[in-house]
């Protein structure tokens, strides 16, 4: 019984870890070694890593991704804090409807706004710019941020603000002096999740950028091509994959508890 259980655990770990492990191993092989299925490269080489940074603008792509994701998340958190306070702590008519609306925006297909967004970005002269991506990413990140923050706001005890209200503090004072300090860990959690969402976005980045220099990391990895038109440069693709995934895996390792609490708060409870 116990042995069967540990076998199950081993199978689960193998299943979840192997694909990423295989990407790391493949990224360290080059030339014909890439086509062998050795579980560990006979001769490890960093050639693939050199290639993506020297022969392709991958460093630039990483910079684009960092800038776009950071700007989107900061803007969304800023807007979401006051909105979440209103939705989570004050009762008013139309609140339920508004929450439903926010939830449905976060669930609707990105492709449903694609042509309208394309027109908007063109009209503002933001095609093939980072600002255009930041603007379009708001539609993904903002509803999510508001939703998660609202959930956390509701969980805070009522007594917190009662005293402040009695003392005649305005809602603005309550948000900035009472809730903001308490919410720092929550903002951090939400920020990480929102950052990951923006970092991974593909459809908008693929459609609203044109040149390799403006591409974000996911688009660069998806469109990576080599000298041969018949075979993709798998070594390079795996190296790039490892480079962009490693920070996320480390983030998950370090902040596991926060991330899980944020994820479960983001999904509605029955």
């Amino acid at each position: 019984m116990k042995a069967a259980f540990y076998l199950l655990v081993a199978v689960i770990v193998l299943y979840t870890v192997f694909p990423f492990y295989w990407a790391i191993v493949s990224s360290l092989k080059s030339g014909s070694a890439l086509f062998s299925t050795d579980l560990w490269p006979k001769e490890s080489t960093l050639a693939n890593y050199r290639s993506i940074f020297l022969e392709q603008p991958f460093g630039r792509n990483i910079l684009n991704s960092i800038l776009v994701a950071t700007a989107t998340v900061s803007a969304c958190l800023f807007i979401a804090v006051t909105a979440a306070y209103a939705l989570g702590r004050i009762e008013f008519r139309g609140q339920g409807l508004l929450l439903m609306l926010i939830l449905s925006v976060s669930m609707f297909p990105q492709v449903a706004v694609l042509s309208g967004m394309f027109e908007l970005i063109h009209a503002l002269g933001l095609y093939n710019t980072r600002l255009g991506l930041i603007l379009s990413y708001m539609v993904i990140v903002l509803p999510f941020t508001v939703w998660v923050l609202t959930t956390f706001m509701r969980a805070l005890p009522k007594e917190l603000e009662e005293a402040a209200i009695m003392d005649g503090a305005t809602p603005w004072i309550i948000v900035t002096r009472i809730f903001l300090p308490l919410l720092t860990p929550v903002l951090f959690t939400t920020g990480i999740l929102a950052f990951i969402a923006a970092w991974n976005e593909f459809l908008f980045a693929l459609t609203f950028t044109l040149t390799n220099n403006m591409r974000t990391v996911p688009v660069a990895i998806a469109l990576m091509s080599g000298n041969s038109q018949f075979e993709l440069p798998w070594g390079n693709i795996m190296a790039a994959s490892v480079v962009v995934t490693m920070p996320l895996v480390l983030l998950v390792l370090a902040f596991q508890k926060y991330i899980i609490s944020g994820l479960t708060a983001g999904a509605v409870k029955g």
Partner: protein, 302 residues
């Protein structure tokens, strides 16, 4: 009485500031969500093309009539539903197994949880490329392993063979999304009272019976919500299919179809009609799932 009047003045002040606090979010959402959505719906009734959106002419329902007559569109609809049903059911079962395992008391549980979180942390694009490489017909580790275990006799073209490509896509998607499912189920499991299990154990009831009679009914609300979320998310699948099999007709989802028309064929009017149909489908499906499951969004976070 005076106190009550004071409270309602206070309430009115708070409601007023609530709306002030909501204005920035409402403005942004109106600009980046409502407006583009309405424009997309408008474009679906026009002959707009990508290089010249301004000269779009109203052509009524023409795009929709062509769309509903296109076998490729219906193929994409079928692919999307097939993918959603397969992927969500497999990941629900796997997610349950993993969540139950994570919930058991054992040494090294934290480590196991970290391992399970890895696929979640891997970007979809990266996961698609990783699986594309593992599924490679000549040098892929999957063919190599299956051949040496004599499960298959000859190498399979996983992503090119029309019969296998959708299976490959489901396998890659399940790997990536199961952790999310497992974590949500685990959250429900950890809320369960210990007493139920204690008495079940004292009565000597078989663990599998306990699972179906006690655990499953208790976690059902949480599980239902997780399944609905994943269904709606799976319905809009784009990245994975686009990267693994590009614009192949055999595996194309509704999102891939719409984008191909819009961007590759520059036909914004027709592509917008496809996007609008996808939007309507998902909206109807949401209403249906919410009614059937009796989940009330908006109330659940109270």
């Amino acid at each position: 009485m005076q106190n009550k009047g004071h409270m309602s003045a206070l309430t009115r002040q708070r409601v007023r500031s609530a709306w002030v606090f909501l204005i920035p979010m409402l403005l942004v959402l109106a600009g980046v969500a409502a407006w583009p959505l309405l424009r997309t719906i408008y474009f679906s009734f026009t002959d707009a093309s990508l290089d010249d959106l301004a000269s779009a002419r109203w052509i009524g329902l023409t795009n929709f009539i062509y769309l509903l007559g296109d076998p490729d569109w219906w193929h994409a609809v079928w692919n999307t539903f097939f993918f959603t049903v397969c992927s969500v059911s497999v990941e629900t079962v796997l997610g349950l197994i993993i969540a139950l395992t994570l919930n058991a008391h054992m040494p090294g549980r934290g480590l196991l949880r970290t391992a399970v979180m890895i696929p979640w942390a891997v970007p979809t694009v990266v996961s698609a490329q990783m699986w594309g490489w593992m599924f490679h017909d000549l040098y892929g580790v999957i063919n190599d392993t299956l051949l040496s275990l004599h499960v298959i006799r000859e190498a399979k073209a996983w992503t090119a063979d029309p019969h296998l490509a959708m299976i490959a896509i489901v396998i890659a998607d399940v790997w990536k999304t199961t952790p999310f499912m497992a974590l949500l189920i685990l959250a429900s499991l950890q809320l369960l009272p210990h007493e139920c299990y204690e008495s079940a154990r004292v009565d000597g009831i078989h663990p599998i019976k306990v699972f179906f009679k006690v655990t499953l009914p208790l976690i059902k609300p949480g599980l239902t919500v997780a399944v609905i979320f994943r269904c709606l998310d799976a319905m809009r699948i784009f990245d994975l299919i686009y990267i693994l099999t590009s614009n192949s007709r055999d595996t194309m989802s509704m999102s891939v179809y719409a984008r191909q028309q819009l961007v590759d064929f520059q036909d914004v009017g027709y592509g917008s009609a496809a996007s609008t149909m996808l939007f309507v489908t998902i909206a109807l499906l949401t209403a249906l799932l919410l009614t059937l499951s009796k989940v009330k969004p908006g109330k659940e976070i109270a």
